[in-house]
């Protein structure tokens, strides 16, 4: 019998205990022919915030959808590799079962239900729950607590609210399923810098206070690396670089291509990409 078998309170040490999510060398093909992910592996520790970075078309969204199993609706398929949630394979689960298992995705571009009110949007997020009306009401209050703006607009049709409010609505709706882990796709898209900070602050609070793990895809490398603890950089469907967030922030390539800072003169994109590839193959 191991003495580590039961540990009731998740201390910071327990955070390092084991990954909640393991993606193992997955390959994704769209429409049976378009190979988009060419072997992506990543891990999200329990209670962690991990950033998935990369340029347009790198495959961030595809990775998240492969995990949440929403690929199917887009004629995409995971053809190789495996995905594990807390040690159990989840590749074959339907999105419905996956939400029940505790993983929910907030899609790129928010996708609120436009003709439903904000509060109805939140309620749809609780569709998979079976723990009764009172518990759901409590969680609605909890969401309003994190996003007071939503409370003020609870009766408005989501389609008529602002982009920021819609992002809050989408995150709040995901929270309503009581997830262990949220896959958050481009939360900063189209939002003013001030609002981006607010959203990320809330993500951090949710992570610390509610214990929700996050895997977030972002183009806004700067913000993402300030809030995440670990990051993966995707390029052309492959992970080209990964490491602790503060290390990544100091990395010259990352500085140059994703943070827009550069020590020396600007080299052409092709040169460095080439150099980076070679570095990987060595």
């Amino acid at each position: 019998m191991s003495h580590t078998a039961t540990s009731p309170s998740p201390s910071p040490q327990a955070v390092a205990a084991g990954p909640i999510l393991v993606v193992n060398n997955i390959e994704v093909i769209y429409d049976h022919v378009i190979l988009v992910l060419k072997g992506v592996s990543l891990e999200v520790p329990k209670g962690g915030i991990v950033a998935l970075l990369g340029a347009n078309g790198a495959g961030k969204t595809t990775t998240l959808k492969a995990i949440s199993n929403l690929l199917h609706a887009e004629r995409g398929e995971v053809t190789k590799g495996s995905i594990e949630l807390e040690g159990a394979r989840v590749d074959a689960l339907t999105p419905n079962d996956l939400v029940k298992a505790g993983v929910v995705q907030v899609m790129e571009g928010r996708h609120c239900f436009e003709h439903l009110t904000i509060e109805e949007n939140l309620l749809t997020g609780a569709y998979t729950r079976k723990d009764g009306r009172a518990a759901v009401q409590d969680d609605i209050e909890l969401v309003y607590n994190y996003f007071p703006r939503l409370k003020a607009r609870r009766g408005s049709m989501a389609g008529y609210t602002s982009g920021g409010e819609q992002q809050m609505c989408a995150i709040g709706r995901a929270l309503m399923s009581r997830p262990k882990m949220i896959l958050l796709d481009e939360p900063s898209m189209g939002l003013a810098p001030q609002l981006v900070e607010t959203i990320f602050e809330t993500v951090k609070r949710l992570n610390e206070e509610e214990g929700v793990s996050f895997l977030l895809a972002e183009q806004n490398t700067n913000v993402a690396l300030r809030y995440a603890r670990y990051g993966y950089i995707l390029e052309n469907g492959r992970v080209v670089l990964d490491g602790d967030a503060d290390k990544l922030r100091e990395n010259e390539d990352v500085k140059e291509f994703y943070l827009g800072l550069s020590a020396g003169g600007r080299r052409s994109y092709r040169d460095v990409k080439h150099y980076k590839r070679r570095k990987r193959w060595l």
């Binding site: 949440s68 929403l70 199917h72 609706a73 887009e74 004629r75 339907t94 999105p95 419905n96 996956l98 939400v99 029940k100 929910v104 995705q105 907030v106 899609m107 996708h111 609120c112 239900f113 436009e114 003709h115 439903l116 109805e120 949007n121 309620l123 749809t124 997020g125 569709y127 998979t128 049709m157 389609g159 008529y160 709706r173 995901a174 309503m176 399923s177």
Partner: protein, 338 residues
């Protein structure tokens, strides 16, 4: 004030005015043209008969709207579902069941049918272009049409569940001689109204109803929050099947249960164009407008042009709408923020 209430208010005010204007127009016409007969009492009588007929159109259109909203599929088979439901009901009644029991059993059959359609047709074709699903529903149309007749025979059947059919006079104090209405039409209208009210409450206030609206808004997002699309489709097709059953009872009691029932679906098409494919209120209002419009046109304008207006009036109205308001009266508001 929110835009929906505002629009509703305007409609409530404008409708009687519009009807009165049309009446006045006919009165004027009748004064100069002796081929036309007009009294206000008769006008209202024809109008009411038309509205009551319109309720039946609405019922059929409603089945279309439900399925179109939830899955974007134009269900060509809706008409044959009406026929199939009516045939099944009559079949069970002939086997000796009381009609209420037969109704429950037939409703069960429609749910079963929905499950089979989801499994055999929708599931394998999911993510295919809509035109393919549409063609699949044409297949369902012919299948149901043939299958129903194989099971229950192809004779014209009478359906009588005891709805009174006697004519009665109402509003005798206002119009001289009163207004003649058919009790059956009145009952049909009440049943239709009750069904619509139940559906409206179901959509607005239940968990599943909310999920249905969510799916109608955004499939992907609905999937992402864990709403199982397959279950939702079965529910929607079941509800559409039960609506078809009610429509089948009403039409079948009126005109006998026979193949032509499957064709009333084509009368629902102009209703949909008028009301908008995605709007439940649209299906109702569209049905009423077409029912009343064609009746009034037939009776008052018909004699002037040689009759048979009823056959094409609905389609002409639909055509006019396609030209000027293709999304229909109540078509999905496309949300645009300023």
């Amino acid at each position: 004030m929110n835009p929906t209430t505002l629009r509703f208010g305007i409609w409530m005010l404008a409708t009687p005015l519009l009807i009165a204007t049309i009446g006045l127009g006919f009165q004027g016409l009748a004064a100069v043209n002796s081929a036309m007969f007009f009294t206000w009492g008769y006008f209202v009588e024809v109008l009411i008969a038309g509205l009551l007929q319109g309720v039946l159109y609405s019922l059929v259109a409603l089945g279309f709207v439900l399925i179109f909203k939830a899955s974007g599929v134009f269900n060509f088979a809706q008409g044959s579902m009406v026929l199939f439901a009516a045939l099944t009901l009559v079949g069970f009644i002939e086997m000796g069941l009381h009609w209420t029991l037969a109704f429950v059993v037939t409703a069960g059959v429609m749910v079963l049918l929905a499950m089979v359609i989801e499994k055999v047709v929708l599931r394998p074709l999911v993510n295919q272009p809509h035109i393919i699903l549409f063609m699949a529903t044409i297949g369902i149309f012919y299948f149901l049409d043939g299958f129903g007749q194989t099971l229950w025979g192809s004779d014209v059947k009478l359906l009588d569940i005891g709805i009174p059919k006697d004519p009665r006079f109402i509003l005798e104090g206002i119009f001289e001689g009163g207004i003649l209405v058919n009790s059956f039409d009145l009952v049909a209208a009440l049943v239709g109204a009750a069904l619509v009210a139940v559906l409206a409450l179901f959509f607005q206030y239940t968990r599943v109803g909310r999920a249905l609206r969510a799916v109608a808004d955004d499939h992907q997002a609905a999937l992402s929050v864990g709403i199982p699309l397959k279950t939702i489709w079965v529910i929607v097709w079941s509800v559409a099947g039960i609506v078809a059953l009610v429509a089948g009872i009403m039409w079948g009691s009126k005109a006998g249960v026979q193949f032509s029932l499957a064709l009333i679906a084509f009368k629902a098409l102009p209703v949909l164009i008028l009301g908008g494919f995605t709007s439940i209120p649209g299906a109702i209002v569209g049905g009423l407008i077409i029912g009343a419009g064609e009746q009034v046109a037939e009776v008052f304008v018909g004699p002037l042009v040689g009759g048979a207006i009823q056959d094409w009036f609905a389609y002409m109205l639909a055509l006019v709408f396609l030209l000027f308001r293709p999304q229909g009266l109540f078509g999905e508001r496309i949300i645009e923020r300023i």
